[in-house]
């Protein structure tokens, strides 16, 4: 539990995450769905809401949405599209097609890597709006002198994932979003890019006295554009609420905007009674009722989720951080295959974490990777040599034996090493005396000195472990 709030107060956060689906076309029309492009070039009469046009649901969008529901342990149900009516110039029809009382996915959960379970209330489908750029004034529509409109984004399919207010810690909020992002990318439903707006987060923040189960007035924080600002915004907002309560006031239910520069949230428009979206079922669309067979087909084709992938690594003895990093880099298949081929799991994980943070690493041949680890563990390669060979394997795709022999990396004869070490002992009597003394700290230092000298003499081909064995044998002998 984070301790940023004064004693006696508890944070209550629910998150609404909008994810743009990675479909070829828009939700209700054949116009392309790609980020970027000259303004108003990725449009057609339907997504522009021209008079007489009608929406037709994209089956691909429904499938990607069902994947999300399944990945979040939701119930998938017959769903109805509804119109959310309000006037805004970047919304071509002045209503948004969304889902209201009958969303596609309901009642799921997401387990964070820390073990915390966050319940998912719903994950519903809706269309995105266009983009407004307000010129003049303070950058909002109310003070603008002109507004530029780009409808490329209008009609792009979105899934809005709404959590229950189960989050008690800003770190958990960040972990929730990071995990969700990993899931969306893994299942191919969204590219989950904050910077391109394909993933957007709104946080509903309130506080309450510890031990209470009430839900106090919440504020919806928008314009949070990174995980870091999400944490900062939640902390700021929660403190603001505590300050208000402490001074005998109370927060007002409203939408607030996170201002990255000042590190504050700023009041937007009041929310609540003033909003009446006049939802009603869209008569241009028919309910979507996915068959059990289709849902099971989609479920069967789902790739393993990040949590399961991490668990597989943990079962091989990886630590939590290592497992998370490997899955994030998509190296778990490689790592597990190498382990399966007989490579030492600990070395595999270490290499994957430390030495494979490069493009193309995932394409490495698992057999080659396993061979490399075996050569290293077997003493045929030193750790330094193994690192060099591994880097070259990624670059060239050649086998570790080929690369090692091209470099002349060969296991050194122990007797050859012994004679080099004996020569060094003779040449450095003072250092040797300190190595054989009682001070562990000094001995450690001197071991480093001798190892360095050996590496220098062997041009790095000596195996550090073998060097240490010889040094200790000489000291004890």
């Amino acid at each position: 539990m984070s301790t940023f709030l004064p004693d006696g107060w508890e944070l209550v956060v629910g998150l609404e995450v909008h994810a743009e689906l990675a479909t070829e076309s828009k939700l209700f029309s054949p116009a392309v769905n790609h980020f970027g492009g000259e303004p108003n070039t990725q449009v057609d009469p339907v997504c522009l809401g021209l008079p007489g046009t009608l929406p037709v649901i994209s089956k691909e969008a429904v499938e990607l949405s069902i994947r999300i529901g399944l990945a979040l342990n939701c119930t998938i149900q017959r769903c109805v599209f509804a119109r959310k009516n309000y006037f805004y110039p970047d919304m071509p029809k002045d209503y948004q097609i969304s889902q209201y009382d009958q969303p596609l996915n309901i009642d799921g959960w997401l387990d964070l890597p820390t073990g915390t379970r966050v319940r998912i209330e719903r994950a519903h489908m809706e269309e995105d709006t266009g983009k407004s750029t307000h010129l003049g004034g303070d950058g909002r529509i109310t003070s603008a002198t002109a507004t530029l409109l780009d409808y490329n984004r209008a009609g792009v399919p979105l899934v809005e994932i709404v959590s229950h207010p189960d989050i008690r810690d800003p770190e958990d909020a960040k972990a929730y979003v990071a995990e969700l992002q990993a899931i969306l990318v893994t299942i191919g439903s969204s590219d989950g890019k904050f910077e391109e707006g394909s993933m957007r987060v709104d946080a509903n923040v309130s506080v309450r006295p510890v031990g209470s189960d009430e839900l106090r007035t919440r504020c919806e924080i928008k314009n949070v554009n990174s995980l870091r600002s999400l944490g900062r915004a939640i902390e700021y907002e929660a403190r603001r609420h505590v300050d208000l309560y402490d001074s005998g006031n109370a927060p007002m239910q409203e939408t607030r905007h996170w201002d990255e520069e000042s590190g504050r949230t700023k009041s937007g428009r009041p929310k609540g009674d003033a909003d009446d979206y006049r939802y009603f079922p869209d008569p241009d669309l028919v309910p979507v009722d996915p068959s059990r067979e289709w849902i099971e087909e989609i479920r069967a084709a789902l790739p393993p989720l990040p949590s399961a992938r991490r668990a597989a690594l943990l079962a091989q003895g990886a630590d939590a951080t290592g497992a998370a990093v490997i899955v994030e880099r998509d190296l778990d298949t490689l790592a597990l295959a190498a382990i399966d081929a007989g490579a030492d799991p600990a070395r595999v994980v270490t290499h994957a974490v430390q030495n494979l943070n490069v493009d193309g690493a995932a394409a490495l041949d698992a057999g080659h990777f396993a061979d490399l680890v075996k050569m290293e563990v077997g003493g045929d390669l030193s750790a330094t040599q193994a690192k060099t060979v591994l880097a070259e394997m990624v670059e060239t795709g050649n086998s570790p034996t080929e690369i090692a022999s091209a470099h002349g990396f060969e296991a050194m004869d122990t007797s050859e090493l012994e004679s080099i070490i004996d020569g060094l002992i003779e040449a450095s009597p003072d250092e040797w005396a300190r190595f054989t003394g009682d001070d562990d700290k000094i001995r450690g230092k001197m071991q480093g000195f001798f190892t360095g000298q050996v590496m220098k003499a062997t041009k790095g081909q000596a195996d550090g472990k073998v060097v240490a064995q010889i040094l200790n044998a000489r000291r004890n002998g």
Partner: protein
């Protein structure tokens, strides 16, 4: 069948090479030119484009090809259907000058069948009305009496066919907007099953009720036209994924053994008390004629019909209030710059761009959908729809088709129904089939007060258009001689011209 060009006659003459499509279109354009000053059925006439298409049709015929079942047939489109490159206004100032970049599915289908669009017709603004008086560009006049309304909202399309300017026109029907003007103008009007004709390109009034259909002078023409425009369309999610039912082959089947249900609520009792006696009498006459032709007449009850009007005037405005939001001055159509904010501009644009009836319905609909009122209004109205469907299901257990008046009255004078509620009552007999999504048709059957045309309505269950056409054909055969319109093209008035427009 009265003399005068029919769509079937024209198509057959053009396909056989007896008449050129160019000739046909020229005759249609000449009739529009001569008569439309008195009628004002058209908002836009696309003469050049029509003649070019006609020449293409003639080339196809000359090359031995078949341009389709509506080859060379001039067709007028209600101006709420999108036409690429041709202004489409919905008779609203707010859309004045807007030119769609695409064609409605119905336009594509008409052309694929060989029909030639000659222009766009007048309507009540956004199809909201029953008289075409709500057009921002002036009312349309009834060809039978130019001091009277043609009905609405598809008044322009009804009048164009009634006056013989085109043998075929297309309208849309949300609460009776094809059938009521068909009745008042003495022509045939079909509202197909909801979903049988694609709505793609039809500018929405109330999406769950809107349906496109034809106006013709004969029942057979309506069958051909319906088969041409119907069918599944992937661009309309509410389009029925089934082929259009075959209606032409049902035309000669007769009514022997069919059970025709008379909707008692629309013939007697409180609901019918506002109907003109002649209209009720013509409906009884029609029933008698069908009985004489071999049908069995059974009284049926649709008790929830009485709630239809109230439900309709909640559902339709609710959907309209949302459908019409997009006319905000931001992207197309008129923009009125006012104040110093986007909201000010939107407000000023909508204030200036919409007429009184449209504003009234937007306000009604906005209210009906508001938080706290939704269940009491929109929700309850949807439940009435279910009740009406159940009532119809019971009625169709007893009868194959149902019969009722189409409109409570014959064509009325301009301004005669200036009170909105009085005007809304016009739709009482037509609304239930929109709420149910069922097909219905108005067929001319004699005259009422002042020798003005009266239509009777036939109703059938979902996709039962073939049986509708069987009965309609029988009614047409038994109908008293129809009055000639006061404003009419030569093909209608000259008894020496046969139904293919060829002088005898």
């Amino acid at each position: 069948m009265s003399a005068g060009e029919t769509a079937l006659g024209v198509a057959s003459a053009v396909r056989s090479g007896e008449r050129s499509a160019v000739e046909v279109v020229e005759a249609s354009l000449a009739a529009i030119d001569a008569l439309d000053g008195q009628v004002h059925a058209f908002l836009e006439v696309t003469a050049e484009e029509a003649l070019a298409r006609a020449a293409d049709i003639d080339e196809t015929v000359a090359a031995g090809g078949d341009p389709g079942p509506l080859a060379g047939v001039p067709v007028a489109l209600k101006d709420n259907m999108c036409t690429e490159g041709v202004p489409t206004t919905c008779s609203s100032k707010i859309l004045e000058g807007w030119i769609p970049p695409y064609d409605a599915t119905v336009v594509e289908k008409l052309r694929a069948a060989g029909a030639i669009t000659v222009g766009k017709t007048n309507l009540d603004e956004f199809a909201m009305g029953s008289s075409t008086e709500n057009s921002a560009f002036g009312a349309t006049r009834n060809p039978h009496d130019t001091d009277r309304v043609p009905g609405g909202s598809s008044g322009g399309s009804a009048a164009a066919v009634a006056a013989g300017m085109t043998p075929l026109s297309i309208g849309s029907d949300t609460g009776g907007s094809i059938r009521q003007p068909a009745s008042l103008c003495g022509v045939v009007g079909l509202k197909p099953t909801y979903g049988a004709v694609s709505r793609f390109g039809l500018i929405a009034f109330a999406s769950s009720l809107d349906q496109i259909g034809p106006f013709t002078r004969t029942v057979a023409d309506a069958a051909v036209a319906f088969e041409a425009i119907g069918g599944h369309d992937v661009r309309d999610s509410t389009s029925i994924p089934e082929p259009v039912p075959s209606c032409v082959e049902a035309l000669g089947a007769g009514v022997d053994g069919l059970r025709v249900g008379i909707i008692s609520e629309l013939l007697e009792g409180e609901l019918a008390s506002g109907f003109e006696p002649e209209v009720l009498q013509r409906t009884r006459d029609a029933a008698a004629a069908l009985e004489a032709a071999g049908a069995t007449i059974v009284p049926v009850s649709v008790p929830s019909a009485i709630y239809g009007l109230s439900a309709y005037y909640l559902i339709a405005p609710a959907e309209a209030s949302s459908n019409l939001s997009r006319y905000d001055g931001v992207r197309y159509g008129n923009r009125v710059v006012a104040g110093d904010s986007t909201a000010d501009m939107m407000r000023a644009t909508r204030t200036a761009g919409f007429g009184a009836e449209v504003k009234r319905r937007i306000m009604l609909g906005t209210y009906a959908l508001s938080a706290g009122y939704y269940d009491a209004f929109y929700g309850k109205a949807q439940r009435v729809r279910t009740l009406i469907l159940e009532d119809f299901a019971r009625a169709y257990a007893q009868a194959d088709v149902l019969l009722s008046p189409t409109s409570p009255c014959v064509a009325f004078g301009f301004g005669a129904k200036s009170d909105p509620l009085t005007m809304y009552l016009n739709d009482v007999a037509t609304i239930p089939s929109n709420l149910a999504g069922h097909p219905a048709m108005s067929v001319p059957f004699g005259t009422g007060a002042d020798d003005l045309p009266v239509g009777v309505q036939l109703l059938a269950p979902t996709l039962a258009e073939p049986v509708l056409f069987r009965v309609a054909a029988a009614l047409e055969a038994a109908a008293p001689a129809a009055p000639l319109p006061a404003v009419a093209a030569p093909a209608l008035t000259d008894p020496t011209i046969d139904d293919q427009g060829v002088p005898a």
